[in-house]
C-alpha cells in the first residue's frame, strides 16, 4: 500500500513536470493563445492584446497580435491610427498566422499602396457568413475611408447559412472567457493536446462514416480519376451538369451580398470581394482549381448587381503555377495545394488587389 502511494505521488509529480515540458514545446511548436469575446462585434472574438502565437504545423511563424488582438505589424498598426483606408476582413487565410508578419497581404498592401493605410481584422473561423454578420460593426468601429476588402474561399454558398444571417439568427463563434475551460486553455500543453485529441477522434468518426457511404464526397488529391484530367486542361472544373442553382438561391445570394452594399454605401467605401479557390494538381502535371461554374457566375453577377468589385484569383493562380510552378496554398511541412494561403498566395492576392484598386481609381479619375 505504501509503495502504491509513493508510486502514485511520483506519477502526479511526473505528470506536472511533463505538462511543464510539453508547454515549453507547445510555445515553440503550436500555440494559438487565448481568444475572448469581442464586445465591439466587428469579429466574434479577438485574441488577447499582444498575444504570442507560434506555428510550426503549417509553415513556420512566430507572431504577436496587435493592441486590438488582430494580426498587424507595428508599422500597420501605427499607420492605422491616422485613419484606415482599406479594411481587410476574412477568415484564418486573412488572419495569416501561417506566414511571417511581413509576408501577409495586409502588410504587402501597405507596401504596394503606401499612400493608403491598410488594416486587417481577419480572424480564424470567420467565413463569408460571419464577415457579413459582423460587417456593420466593423465599418462602424474602423470606418475605412476607401475600401472594404472581404475574403471568400467558396462561391458555392449555403442557403440556410445565408438566410440565418439575413434574419439575424447567425450564431457567433463562442469564446471561453471564464471558468475552468478558460483557465485550462491558458496552459499551452493542455490546449495543444486537447485540440489534437479532439481532431483525432473527430477525423476517425468521419473516416468511418465516409468508408460506410457508397460515394466519397470529399475531394482527395490522390484519387482524382484519369477522366478528370481531360476536362481540367484549362485548369477549371466545369461541372455544369452537376451544379444547377437551387430554387431561390440567386435571390437569396443577392440579398445576402446587399448587406455589404448597403453598409458600405453608408460608410462611403467601396466593397471588394476576392475569391481564392482551392487547387490541386493532376498526374499529367496540370493544375486544377475547383469551382462550380454556375455558382461562380451567380456570385459574379450578384456582386456586380450590388456594386461589389469581384476579384477571382483563379487565373492569377493558374498563371503562377504554369510559369513558376508555385501553388498559393501549402507549406514545406504540409502537402502542397492544401491548407492555408502561403507567402506566395498572400503576395499574389496583394498584387492582384493593388492592380484592381489602381485600375478602379484610374477608371474613376481618382488618381
Amino acid at each position: 500500500m505504501k509503495k502504491l502511494c509513493i508510486q502514485g505521488i511520483k506519477v502526479i509529480v511526473a505528470g506536472i513536470l511533463a505538462v511543464a515540458v510539453l508547454s515549453l514545446i507547445a510555445l515553440v511548436y503550436e500555440y494559438t493563445g487565448v481568444h475572448v469575446d469581442n464586445p465591439q462585434k466587428d469579429t466574434d472574438y479577438v485574441w488577447l492584446p499582444g498575444q504570442y502565437k507560434a506555428n510550426m504545423t503549417e509553415g513556420f511563424s512566430f507572431l504577436f497580435m496587435d493592441a486590438n488582438g488582430y494580426n498587424n505589424t507595428k508599422e500597420n498598426e501605427e499607420k492605422a491610427q491616422n485613419g484606415i483606408d482599406i479594411l481587410l476582413m476574412g477568415s484564418s487565410h486573412v488572419e495569416a498566422v501561417q506566414v511571417a508578419s511581413d509576408e501577409n497581404m495586409g502588410y504587402l498592401l501597405n507596401q504596394s499602396l503606401p499612400e493608403k493605410n491598410t488594416y486587417s481584422i481577419g480572424m480564424s473561423g470567420h467565413d463569408i457568413y460571419r464577415v457579413m454578420d459582423n460587417l456593420p460593426y466593423a465599418l462602424e468601429r474602423f470606418s475605412p475611408g476607401e475600401y472594404l476588402v472581404m475574403e471568400c474561399y467558396d462561391v458555392k454558398l449555403d442557403m440556410g447559412s445565408m438566410l440565418q444571417i439575413l434574419d439575424g439568427s447567425g450564431q457567433r463563434i463562442p469564446s471561453y472567457n471564464e471558468g475552468l475551460v478558460a483557465k485550462m486553455q491558458r496552459i499551452p500543453a493542455v490546449k495543444w493536446l486537447y485540440k489534437e485529441l479532439s481532431t483525432w477522434n473527430r477525423l476517425e468518426k468521419k473516416q468511418k462514416r465516409l468508408a460506410g457511404e457508397a460515394a466519397k464526397k470529399e475531394v482527395d488529391n490522390t484519387k482524382v480519376a484519369a477522366g478528370d484530367a481531360e476536362i481540367a486542361i484549362d485548369g477549371k472544373e466545369n461541372n455544369a451538369g452537376d451544379s444547377k442553382l437551387p430554387e431561390g438561391y440567386y435571390e437569396t445570394l443577392l440579398k445576402f451580398l446587399s448587406i455589404c452594399r448597403i453598409n458600405c454605401d453608408l460608410q462611403g467605401c467601396k466593397p471588394i470581394i476576392f475569391y481564392h479557390p482551392t487547387g490541386m494538381f493532376l498526374q499529367n502535371g496540370y493544375a486544377y482549381f475547383q469551382t462550380e461554374e454556375e455558382y461562380l457566375e451567380a456570385f459574379k453577377r450578384a456582386c456586380e448587381e450590388n456594386g461589389i468589385l469581384f476579384l477571382d484569383m483563379t487565373d492569377v493562380f493558374l498563371e503562377e503555377y504554369e510559369k513558376n510552378h508555385i501553388f498559393p496554398h501549402g507549406f514545406s511541412n504540409t502537402a502542397i495545394a492544401t491548407g492555408h494561403l502561403n507567402a506566395d498566395g498572400h503576395r499574389m492576392i496583394a498584387e492582384a488587389l493593388t492592380k484592381l484598386i489602381e485600375e478602379e481609381e484610374q477608371n474613376h479619375g481618382l488618381k
Binding site: 515540458v21 510539453l22 485529441l197 498526374q283 510552378h325 511541412n333
Partner: protein
C-alpha cells in the same frame, strides 16, 4: 480495428483491466493459462469479426488446419505419413492463393488467350498473408521434429488468431509463441511498464513519422510530373523512411501490446539502415518474413548446397516469391527479383573476398567505407522500392525516368523528411550504445528497446513527454498500415 486508432487505444485499457483481473482471480497455473488464452482469443475474434465476419471464417479454417494436421501426422497409428503435413500446407496455400492471387493469375491467363479482364469480387481476409505463413512454419517444424504438436486447440487458435499481430505480423513461430505463453498473467506490473512504452514508441514511429511522410510521398508518387526533379529525389529518399517507420511502428505496437499480456513476440527490424550490404539488409528488415523465406523456401530449395548456379537461382526464386507475397502484381514480383539479383551479386562479391582475403567480409573496412556502404545500401533500397510503390511497372519506370532527367515543376523540400532522418540517426546512435547493432536478437523484448524507468520521477516524466509528443505531433488522416494491405 487498427492498433493506432483512437477507439482501439480507448478499448485497450478495459481489455487490459479485464486481463489483469482474471489473472488475479485464477490461482491454478493451468487454469490461469487457459482462461487468459481464451480471453485473448475472444478479443481477437471479436476484432476480426467486427471488420468482417467472413474474415473470421477464413481464420477459423486456417486454425483447424494448423491444429489437426500436425496431430494427425503424429499419430503412429496413421503411420506418421507426411501426407497430412502436405495437405495442411497445400490447404493453407490454396486459401492464400484463392483470396489473394486468383484474380491476378486468372487475368494473366486471360491476357495470354486474348480475353477481357474479369475480376471476381474477392475480399482479402485481414492478415491472411501473415497467419497462413505462421501456420505453414508450424506444420513444417512439427514434421521436421523440432517440437511436438500442441494438443491444446485453444493455444493453437491463439497462435493463429492473436490479435496484436493479425494485421501486419510479425510472422510468429510456433515454439517461440507457445513458450512465451508461460509468461501469461505473470509479472503484470513489469510487463505493463515495458509493454506500454514499446507500444508508445511504435505509435510515435507510425503516427508522427510514417504518417507525416506519407502526406508528401503520396503526393509526389501520385503526380511526379508536377514536381521538380529535386522534389522527386527527395520523395524517393523519404519513402524508405516512411515504409520503415510504418512497418516497424506497427511491429513495435504489436510487440508492445503482446508484452502487456506477458507474451514476447519476435522482433521484426534490427536497424536495417545500418546494413552495409543487401544481404545484411535482409537480415535486419522484416526479419520474420526474411527468416521464414530462408528456412521454409531457400533451404528446402537447396540453399547454397547445390553449387554456385543453383545457389543464385535459389536466391532469385526465393526473393521472387517473397515479392509475390507482398501482393498480386508484377511490380512486387519485379521488386523481389531485383532483391534476388542483388543478393546473388552480394554472394558473388563475398566469395571473391573470401578467396582474396581468406574471409567473407574481406579486409576490415574503415568508418568512411562503412558509412558509404550504408548509404549505398540505402540508395539501392530506395530506388528498388520505387517499383514496389508504383501502381504498375510502367508507372515505376516513368518515375525512375523522372529521377534521371532534369524536370521543372514544384519544388517541395518537405521538412518532415529531414525531421524523420534526424530521429532515425538519433535513435540509431542511442541504441548503438545499448545493443551495438548485434545481429543476434536479445531474447527479452525489453532489451531491444530504449525504455524509461517508470519507478523514477525522471523516467515517468520522460515517458509522459513522449506520450504528449506522440499525440501533439501526430498526423490524423486516412493512414492505414502499409503492410496491412499485404
Amino acid at each position: 480495428m487498427a492498433l493506432n486508432s483512437f477507439r482501439f487505444i480507448l478499448l485497450l485499457f478495459p481489455i487490459l483491466a479485464g486481463f489483469y483481473l482474471l489473472s488475479l482471480f485464477c490461482k491454478k497455473e493451468k487454469t490461469k493459462r487457459n482462461v487468459l488464452a481464451g480471453y485473448l482469443l475472444a478479443i481477437g475474434y471479436l476484432m476480426v469479426a467486427e471488420t468482417d465476419i467472413r474474415f473470421l471464417l477464413c481464420l477459423l479454417a486456417v486454425t483447424l488446419i494448423t491444429y489437426f494436421c500436425p496431430l494427425l501426422f503424429e499419430r503412429k497409428q496413421l503411420g506418421r505419413t507426411k501426407a497430412w503435413v502436405a495437405f495442411g500446407i497445400v490447404a493453407d496455400l490454396v486459401l492464400l492463393g484463392v483470396f489473394k492471387y486468383f484474380n491476378f493469375f486468372y487475368n494473366q491467363v486471360e491476357a495470354l488467350f486474348g480475353g477481357t479482364k474479369t475480376n471476381l469480387n474477392i475480399l482479402l481476409p485481414i492478415g491472411i498473408s501473415f497467419y497462413t505463413f505462421s501456420s505453414i512454419s508450424y506444420l513444417v517444424d512439427v514434421y521436421r521434429g523440432k517440437y511436438e504438436a500442441n494438443k491444446s486447440l485453444l493455444e493453437v487458435a491463439l497462435f493463429i488468431g492473436f490479435f496484436p499481430k493479425i494485421i501486419s505480423g510479425p510472422i510468429i513461430r510456433g515454439r517461440d509463441f507457445f513458450e512465451s505463453l508461460n509468461g501469461l498473467g505473470k509479472k503484470n506490473l513489469y510487463n505493463f511498464s515495458c509493454g506500454i512504452q514499446i507500444f508508445v514508441w511504435g505509435l510515435f514511429k507510425k503516427m508522427v513519422l510514417a504518417d507525416r511522410l506519407s502526406v508528401f510521398v503520396d503526393n509526389v508518387f501520385y503526380a511526379p510530373k508536377a514536381f521538380h526533379s529535386i522534389t522527386v529525389i527527395w520523395a524517393t529518399l523519404s519513402y524508405p523512411l516512411q515504409l520503415y517507420f510504418d512497418f516497424a511502428g506497427y511491429s513495435d505496437m504489436a510487440i508492445g501490446i503482446s508484452k502487456l499480456f506477458g507474451i514476447d513476440l519476435a522482433w521484426n527490424f534490427n536497424f536495417p539502415f545500418v546494413a552495409r550490404t543487401v544481404s545484411e539488409f535482409w537480415k535486419r528488415w522484416h526479419i520474420s518474413l526474411s527468416s521464414w523465406l530462408q528456412e521454409y523456401l531457400y533451404f528446402p530449395l537447396g540453399g547454397n548446397r547445390k553449387g554456385k548456379i543453383r545457389t543464385y537461382v535459389n536466391l532469385l526464386l526465393t526473393m521472387l516469391l517473397g515479392g509475390l507475397w507482398h501482393g498480386a502484381a508484377w511490380c512486387y514480383i519485379l521488386w523481389g527479383g531485383l532483391q534476388g539479383l542483388a543478393l546473388g551479386f552480394d554472394k558473388m562479391r563475398m566469395e571473391r573476398r573470401k578467396k582474396k582475403y581468406g574471409r567473407k567480409d574481406g579486409k576490415k573496412s574503415g568508418p568512411a567505407v562503412a558509412f558509404l556502404s550504408m548509404v549505398a545500401s540505402y540508395l539501392f533500397f530506395a530506388f528498388s522500392i520505387i517499383i514496389f510503390r508504383s501502381e504498375n511497372i510502367m508507372d515505376g519506370f516513368a518515375f525512375i525516368g523522372q529521377l534521371f532527367t532534369p524536370h521543372d515543376g514544384m519544388i517541395h523540400l518537405y521538412t518532415w523528411s529531414l525531421f524523420s532522418m534526424v530521429c532515425l540517426i538519433i535513435g540509431t546512435l542511442v541504441m548503438r550504445r545499448k545493443t551495438g547493432f548485434a545481429m543476434k536478437m536479445p531474447k527479452k523484448v525489453e532489451e531491444r528497446y530504449f525504455l524509461f524507468d517508470l519507478t523514477s520521477i525522471l523516467g515517468l516524466t520522460l515517458f509522459f513527454v513522449l506520450c504528449g509528443l506522440t499525440v501533439g505531433l501526430a498526423y490524423f488522416g486516412n493512414t492505414a498500415f502499409i503492410y496491412g494491405a499485404f
